[in-house]
Amino acid sequence: MAKMTMVEAINMAHAWEMEHDRNVVVLGEDVGINGGVFRATVGLQQRFGSARVQDTPLAEGLIAGTAIGLAAQGIKPVAEIQFMGFIYPALDQIASHMARLRNRTRGRLTCPLVLRMPHGGGIHAPEHHSESLEALLCHHPGLRVVCPSSPARAYGLLLAAIRDPDPVMFLEPVRLYRFMRQEVADDGQALPIDSCFVLREGSDLTIVTWGAMTVETLKAAEQLSGEGISCEIIDVASLAPIDFDTILDSVVKTGRLLIVHEAARTCAVGAEIAATVSEHALYDLLAPIRRVTGYDTIMPLYRLEYDYIPSLARIVDGIRATLAE
């Protein structure tokens, strides 16, 4: 079994599914001979041909709209948006059509497709290249939103996303693309896109997070375990629809909840989790639910990006504060 990075695992998942499903087609900006700016699709055009791996013109609205037309005709598009900050021109197609086609046609036409996009900051990228906009997608019923946090989960979740009968927005944390290598079996095994992953079991408090923030969160838990603090860490992974059962069970067990995410705080996914948990588990809460998140500011240019992205220190303090009460 080969040790690989997340971006390699994503590439491998593409290859597996294209090998086993002739209807899978890859499209996006620079996904062909260039293999994508992060190399996620490298080698696919050479292997599967330029009919099944196509560079598109530079237009995200076109990419999303084309994917809808392809999907409705029985092709399985796996389309790449080069960076999540460039999703805006595609939102009309995503919100007005992708999320709605099944509903507005009473199931006559559907949109099984995947829209992949690099998510978040931390790689000293230029302006608009470090955005965390999952909340915009999660607010729209009819979409699935998935965000992996390891090479193996990226492989299994991407396979599930491609096989899903509905549109799946697949958010890939840029910090994790080459962050670590992990053994990933190329066995075509999908992972569920309707459940959270418990990354660490614990009894003192529950920390809910996803994507790249799982790394600092695990570090924080590790660090505090030395002081006998036992954190349970849940990787939400599927941000829409969310598996609240797992989250609620954990909070009922620990009585305390900390939410960690990179996106700006207001109206983000963390707000929904806090609202839902406090509605359903208020009497189990021993302390207020805290959120350690990106600030409600514009993602700064890179010199300050690590002042914006929740740091280990902020998470550790968030844990302590949640336990203090």
């Binding site: 059509h97 509903n103 019923p141 609240f244």
Partner: protein, 361 residues
């Protein structure tokens, strides 16, 4: 001042087959030599107009929601429908009643849609056609995508997509025809230039003398035709679809017609355009000229007209009865088609909706 050479040259042609008086211009067209087709087209145009009048009437009497009349555009809508093959895929905006009817969509379904019921998009006879598309321009990239699917599979099928004169101002229109040109997709785009986008005349929409020339930006061939002339619309659309089917790539067709009605039943066009303008447009409307042409050839007469009108009235009445007799969907309808399977978290919302529906009765 500097060396100057010519890098590119373009010409936009205007074509017409039938004069407003119903006289054949130039040689015959495919339709003009096919009596059965001529009659089918004329019958469909009348059918569309009679349905349309009834729909407007239903709205006026509070039995239908906002409705966009197709009055005056029947030749464009029917001519296009007649040029398509059953296996082709149609993307419309919201006004193309004649094309929908030609594709076999029930009047009942069209009423259901404008009557606020999603079941109005269930097209039994053209199951791959897309429903009406309200967000202007957004149908364009989807149509390109469907055409791309056909090209990937090497099928001899085409996509026909409509857009309005106002719609040509949306970037999505341009993105799609540019892509279709670059990939030689089997896509035919019909720009219905009815001169108005609600209250905005096409001259305020763009400085382009023709809308056909917008295709020059995409390197796509284009032609402008008399959109009130069913024969030329059928002719150029057929030619374009044939070329697309042969792998010859996309075509943009501008059909010059006129929106004789208000934009929709919620609009009052007298606020922004003159009665004179509408009057003179009536002189060019598409039905009478085709009827004259048929009559000259002995393919139509007053009796046939009467019979057709009666027939259509009966059909429309039946559709209206069925529509009015259709109870609204249960609230589950909001949840049943959200995703292939309703997420567990939403079961409680579905139950809540059921509870209150019972109260609402």
């Amino acid at each position: 001042m500097s060396e100057c050479t010519t890098a590119a040259r373009f010409e936009i042609h205007y074509r017409a087959c039938l004069s407003p008086e119903g006289q054949l211009l130039g040689e015959s067209s495919r339709a003009s030599t096919d009596p059965a087709l001529l009659q089918r087209m004329y019958r469909m145009m009348v059918r569309a107009r009679i349905f349309d009048a009834k729909a407007v009437n239903l709205q006026r009497t509070g039995k239908l929601g906002t409705y966009p009349s197709c009055l005056g555009q029947e030749a464009t809508h029917v001519g296009v429908g007649a040029a398509m093959r059953a296996e082709d895929v149609l993307f419309t905006v919201y006004r193309e009643i004649g094309t929908k009817l030609w594709r076999g969509v029930d009047m009942y379904r069209i009423l259901l849609y404008w009557g606020g019921d999603e079941r109005g998009t269930l097209y039994e006879h053209s199951p791959q056609d897309f429903p009406f598309c309200v967000p202007i321009g957004s149908q364009m990239p989807q149509a390109a995508g469907a055409a791309m699917a056909m090209k990937i599979r090497g099928e001899a099928r085409c996509v026909l997509v409509f857009i309005g004169d106002g719609g040509t101002s949306q970037g999505a229109f341009y993105e799609a025809i540019n892509f279709a040109g670059a990939r030689e997709l089997p896509l035919v785009c019909v720009i219905v230039n009815n001169r108005w986008a609600i209250s905005v005349p096409v001259e305020r929409q763009t400085a382009a003398k023709t809308l056909a020339q917008k295709a020059v930006a995409a390197g796509v061939p284009a032609v402008q035709v008399d959109g009130n002339d069913a024969l030329v619309v059928h002719q150029v659309t057929t030619e374009a679809l044939e070329r697309a089917r042969r792998g010859g790539g996309p075509t943009v067709i501008e059909t010059l017609t006129y929106r004789l009605a208000d934009h929709t039943t919620s609009d009052d066009a007298t606020r922004y355009r003159s009665a004179e303008e509408v009057q003179s447009a009536w002189a060019l409307e598409p039905l009478l000229r085709l009827r004259r042409f048929l009559e000259q050839r002995g393919l139509w007469d007053a009796q046939a007209e009467e019979a057709l009108k009666r027939e259509c009235a009966v059909e429309v009445e039946a559709a209206v009865r069925q529509y009015l007799a259709t109870p609204r969907q249960a609230t589950d309808a909001m949840f049943d088609y959200l995703l292939a399977e309703l997420p567990p978290a939403l079961h409680s919302q579905r139950d809540e909706a059921r509870r209150y529906a019972a109260l609402r009765g």
